[in-house]
């Protein structure tokens, strides 16, 4: 009597999660598309200055207003998506792949490589993340690619930790022993049996990381260590309009709202992916 009800409840829950997943995936895809085709979408040239039109409030022609040089804020926000969203995705892809590969190798082979790499990751984790990133970015000099490198340096250990832990747990499982008895070498073992089984948690970590990374990237730009003016990027647009927050709020609010919405979308997508992957929610 009890079981069918539970199963049905689980199924409804699973369906709800799937709907949510598609919804956020849809939003995320739109954001990614906007960032890819930003140059085609913008109504005005985001870099064309027209001092006669400076600091116009939002109007039908410029519905997010114009900035102090008369550039259309909406166009700049759209082009800014290219820098923000695209850089974040590149950053998360690179760090998750690098971290996963090193973590898996460390967990699988153990011994000296493991000790050395894990101590390096301890060093990276020992400093407060953003402060360390600031130091690295300042050392490398400004620029979007340097900001990405700085954040990559602080964020790969997280993936390495997850991958290593999962690999260690799997290494002692019977199916890995069975595969060894089937004559698998290390590469076959990792590619066929280890990686496919640890990909779930890694994917979830990466999805949840997108929002954080976007914020930190914008943060570095805000502080002048990421994208450099006149490049349109949400962080440095906010920084440029900061002193005019009281008088011309749209200069700060427009990129701010863009960051907010994008981060919320990717965070909720990450949450949903986690719920979706959670075996407790699987209705089958």
């Amino acid at each position: 009597m009890n079981r069918p009800v539970t199963v049905r409840v689980q199924k409804v829950k699973k369906n709800r999660i799937r709907t949510r997943l598609f919804f956020f995936l849809f939003l995320a895809v739109i954001l990614v598309l906007v960032s890819f085709f930003a140059d085609q979408i913008v109504p005005y040239d985001p870099y064309a200055q027209d001092l006669g039109l400076s600091r116009q409030p939002p109007s039908p022609a410029h519905f997010m207003g114009t900035d102090q040089y008369g550039r259309d804020v909406f166009s700049r926000v759209v082009v800014g998506a290219k820098a923000s969203v695209f850089s974040t995705l590149v950053l998360v892809c690179v760090t998750s792949v690098f971290g996963t590969v090193t973590g898996t190798l460390c967990g699988y082979f153990g011994r000296e490589i493991d000790s050395v790499v894990m101590r390096i990751s301890d060093v990276c984790l020992a400093f407060p993340g953003l402060v360390f990133a600031l130091a690295i970015a300042a050392l490398l000099g400004g620029g979007m690619s340097n900001a990405v490198i700085a954040l990559a340096v602080i964020s790969w250990p997280k993936y390495a930790r997850v991958a290593r832990g999962q690999t260690l747990a799997l290494k002692n499982s019977d199916f890995v022993a069975a595969a060894k008895l089937a004559g698998d070498n290390s590469a076959q073992m990792i590619l066929r049996h280890i990686l496919p089984n640890i990909l779930g948690p890694i994917l979830v970590t990466a999805m949840l990381d997108i929002g954080t990374m976007m914020m930190e990237l914008a943060g570095l730009s805000f502080l002048g260590l990421g994208a450099q003016p006149p490049v349109a990027e949400w962080g440095n647009m906010m920084s440029g309009g900061r002193s005019m927050l009281q008088t011309y709020p749209w200069l700060v609010l427009s990129p701010g709202v863009a960051i907010f919405l994008t981060v919320v979308t990717f965070n909720l997508l990450g949450d949903t992916v986690r719920d979706y992957m959670d075996p407790k929610n699987s209705g089958s």
Partner: protein, 252 residues
Amino acid sequence: MDPVLKVTDLSKSFSRAGKKDFFAVDHVSFALMSGEILGIVGESGSGKSTIAKLITRLIDATGGKIEIEGQDITGLKGREMIPVYGKVQMVFQTPKGSFDPRRTLGDGICESLRNQGVPKAEREAKARALLEQCGLPGEFLERYPHQVSGGQCQRAAIARALMCDPKILILDEATSSLDVTVQKQIMELLQELQQKKELAYLFICHNLALVQQFCDRVIVLWDGKIVEQGLPDDVILRPKSEYAKRLVEAVF
């Protein structure tokens, strides 16, 4: 007759700070003849499974020698073990845990031949035939471990172990996690396969009744040492050592 497996003074010890080394397996010697069923009994922690892992080289011995068909395999590394795995195979205690949850049973069964470069059609035909010998329909090749029962999974595990025509099969508590009726079916299957293929079994078990029924010879292990060995009837009905007496009394 020459032994297919000969173990001499096999030891596995762990060093402990400030104390004497702990021996999980303590200078164990025995031989397994071709076509023989040798039982190893003992309580949990007596070193039974460690012996299985040592023989299959899943862990490294700290002392002693393992010979398979006269070849010393104690020091072989990585790639050198692959031909040995064609002679020794193992069936694990937990049927489901011994198959990759993300791959089909067929993938798992065919893996050894795939690594040897046997073409796909050929290895699948063999897997199908073996699966049928083990009492499962060929469609089970497409199933995932979570879609089959424990007993079915263990039959698939036996088929997997037999894919590369081994001489020795190590059964590490292969029936312990199954309920008694399924256990009986699996034992019958193993007996049938043993006669048909002239396999030698190293039968690791803590069920004395099963050992008495099934084995040609039995070794009693306690605290990593062999405390008694002989014919199952002698060991179980007329135990000589103190530990074997206690073990038998605990059951009957």
